[in-house]
Chain length 101, copies 3
Amino acid sequence: MYSIIYTTTSSKEEAKNIARELVENKLAACVNIHAIDSVYAWEDNVEEDMEFALSIKTLTSKTQDITNHIRKLHSYELPAIISWKINGEAEYLRWISESVV
Amino acid sequence: MYSIIYTTTSSKEEAKNIARELVENKLAACVNIHAIDSVYAWEDNVEEDMEFALSIKTLTSKTQDITNHIRKLHSYELPAIISWKINGEAEYLRWISESVV
Amino acid sequence: MYSIIYTTTSSKEEAKNIARELVENKLAACVNIHAIDSVYAWEDNVEEDMEFALSIKTLTSKTQDITNHIRKLHSYELPAIISWKINGEAEYLRWISESVV
């Protein structure tokens, strides 16, 4: 089974560092990064920040390993880490499997 | 259970207004906004527009409330409102639960 | 049932061409395009590229047709093609159904 794991960072540099670390360590096959504006609840206020979102394509079985890596590398005390299962074209999914160990 | 609810608006201002309203009313914990180019079918033509996408992180149980809020606030007659279920890191999901009432 | 099909291209022009082709041929109701930075594994290296992501909203039953179209139109040997099921607001889902044949 395959998943997207989605997290956000405060800078593009931090996003790229996490992405490279996950791909180098064969925890993810591919990471897509894009700029976002975030609006969120924090201590009874509505806060706004510019952030970067990472969509990490991987095997579902790597979710806990990736979560641990993100929490270790991440500058936030409580990073957003969510995920959902994906299907896909057979040859592309095979490539994900082969890129992850 | 947790979901992303995804909608699109015609301006960043409208996207931010909807995001703030949902977070202030404790219907959503966090909203991520990004610019998109949309290509879509409309009355037998292919139309193109610049828009903004909102990815709203919330409890699945808030889907109908959020849908009602979006339809009330939105400038479109028929806004795109779709959703899918998510998993996530336990502490982050707890934060979503606590931010939503 | 409804799905998002997600793919990436090397240019905005290619993304728009694929989006228009899918909407014109009534394979998809709407395509949202945004710029991304990609970090991925390729032949034991970590590569980086600027790309564009397409989020294609359609009937789940069109997944194979859309996959075939993307592979025919796409400049990559092995394009990323993944998908996941979505729910949505009833009237908007009806519009997707009516836009796809």
